[in-house]
Subunit: 338 residues, 2 copies
């Protein structure tokens, strides 16, 4: 099978010759080619330069022969487009210096025309399709709840105290912003499908800080609303903590569930009723000796079954990951048969 048909079939749960493989943050710091480019430009400059972003997107495709690319960008493009500035400082997570805490803060935000406010990612998708027509490329966006986390807290957090105070003290303010975020995320994902994305993934990285009741109240309706705006390509919903919500994940309306590594993939497939899944090796397992990486890849593929499984890590690859681990992982997936 060619890479387009392999990925498309796996995402639809149809027979494949072997599972396709790509991995989250596959274009990144663990690659010397990437670090060389980042010596010349900042992270944001790279996100805002489609030619360079395309070059970086191609790097893991060219080096490892993965089955799909994912467009190089960041999940915090939408808050920025809505008028909530985002800063990236080396060695720290993102910082949002003007966090959203009140109804007045929410009202000051704008609802951007996505096409004109965020032109870079669709353009990068078009450049990649011209450069590597044989390779499918995924688009992505942050999920509304995860964007809310950053916008309210002003960055990453251990306890997400400011965010949860808003949720628990002024739920209507949080809901209003979640609704606006959902519409922007949906439009942004659709723009990526229109630019030729073979699939789109919505990252709800921080959904797992919520109790199941609060996930159902805040994260789920916003995810549903965002995904309801998207058609024409498979839609993947990923959260870093899928276990607590496993039974409810199909309610997002996603076509495919991206699983983190803290869930048994066989159990997940059983609970999800055969829905296609993506995942789910611990990114740190790539530091293991190659034989152990190989063992883990086969264990995951055996547990997932031959259909409806896209091999991936359970979270983004880490900046110091050894290339031998990545190579062993990809080689092991390529040993599989359908």
């Amino acid at each position: 099978m060619d890479r387009h048909s392999r990925l498309a079939a796996a995402l639809r749960g149809e027979p494949v010759d072997r599972p396709p493989v790509w991995f989250m943050r596959q274009a990144g710091r663990y690659m010397a080619e990437y670090r060389a480019i980042r010596e010349r430009v900042s992270f944001l400059e790279l996100c805002h330069d489609p030619a360079l972003a395309c070059e970086v997107t191609c790097q893991p495709v060219d080096r490892f022969g993965v089955d799909a690319a994912i467009v190089f960008s960041d999940i915090l493009t939408i808050p920025e487009a809505m008028g909530c500035p985002v800063e990236f400082h080396p060695g720290r997570g993102p910082v949002l210096p003007e966090p959203i805490r009140t109804a007045a803060d929410v009202e000051r935000l704008v609802d951007p025309d996505i096409g004109s406010a965020l032109p870079w990612v669709p353009e990068t998708l078009r450049l990649f399709r011209a450069a590597r027509p044989e390779v499918p490329i995924l688009g992505f966006a942050g999920a509304p709840f995860t964007l809310l986390c950053y916008m309210v807290e002003g960055g990453g957090s251990k306890n997400w105290l400011a965010l949860k105070q808003l949720l628990f003290q002024s739920p209507e303010v949080a809901q209003a912003l979640l609704g606006r975020l959902a519409d922007a995320v949906g439009a942004y994902l659709q723009a990526q499908v229109d630019a030729g994305a073979a699939a789109v993934q919505m990252f709800d990285t921080w959904a797992g800080i919520l109790s199941p009741e609060d996930w159902r109240r805040f994260a789920l309706p916003a995810a549903q609303r965002a995904l309801s705006h998207v058609s024409g390509a498979p839609r993947i919903y990923f959260t870093r903590d899928s276990s607590p919500f496993l039974r409810m994940l199909p309610e997002t309306g996603a076509d495919v569930i991206g699983l983190d590594w803290r869930v048994d993939i066989a159990e997940a497939r059983e609970v999800l009723g055969g829905m296609p899944v993506q995942g789910n090796m611990d990114p740190v397992a790539l530091y293991a000796p190659p034989a152990e990486v190989r063992r883990r890849v086969h264990a995951i593929c055996d547990a997932a079954g031959p259909r409806g499984h896209v091999f991936n890590l359970g979270h983004g690859v880490l900046p110091t990951t050894p290339l031998e681990g990545v190579e062993a992982m990809i080689a092991a997936v390529k040993e599989r048969s359908g």
Copy 2:
């Protein structure tokens, strides 16, 4: 019912007049009485002074009328007693400046005689029982895997890279240390039972960083071994991420499962086959208005059912928690009937 019989019955799954309530880190910074003492002594000085530790242990009992105390101490007493120093700096997590990374590091550690190496907690338990004979008191310890996390990483971590490199590259070194930690933890918990603890809780705070396969390989056998050394009082196993391991948690050999807030307590009870549970309100929900706190307490108690449930938070109370939230939580539990 008196507080002793209420806690004992709930931990055994027997009928109660209402669920007992205590909460993790209930003696702590959110109380002015505690902060007043910490202005005079450091955290470690407090842990090593049984009279003062007893005074602090009494504070939430006296102010809120909770149904049980938990002895004031820290989970990192055992690494220190084994020869791995621990430092506490204001505003940071614990720091272990001599992390354990190799087989030689493990061999240099000592296996302490728990009674002489860690006399403070049993002595605090005895003082508390004399001071507040009407109130049951829990003992506790860190679980072997969670202690391993701190000892190898040298403190808290986002990705636990050093720890997981040891697990995945030198599993036999990790297993050797886990076994020694399990024996020390078991002896320490038994010493607390012998000093009159009404129950003991083992905190496996960081178990949730592992995949289910790795939890079964590393955290579970060590937890089993530690708990196998303890008899004479109910043994509670708590992890901050119970969802991924829910089906396997009874295999720890614990009598009661402490649940974090990212799990539906009704679903947990179903999966655990009626095992008694403890938990599980989001600590940040205590910042909600009192009526919302009350609603959440009743929702949890309704879902948990009247028997075999000890009300608690799903993780430790936060330092800035408003007292009104705590008061509303406790008042709501006291409205329940059996």
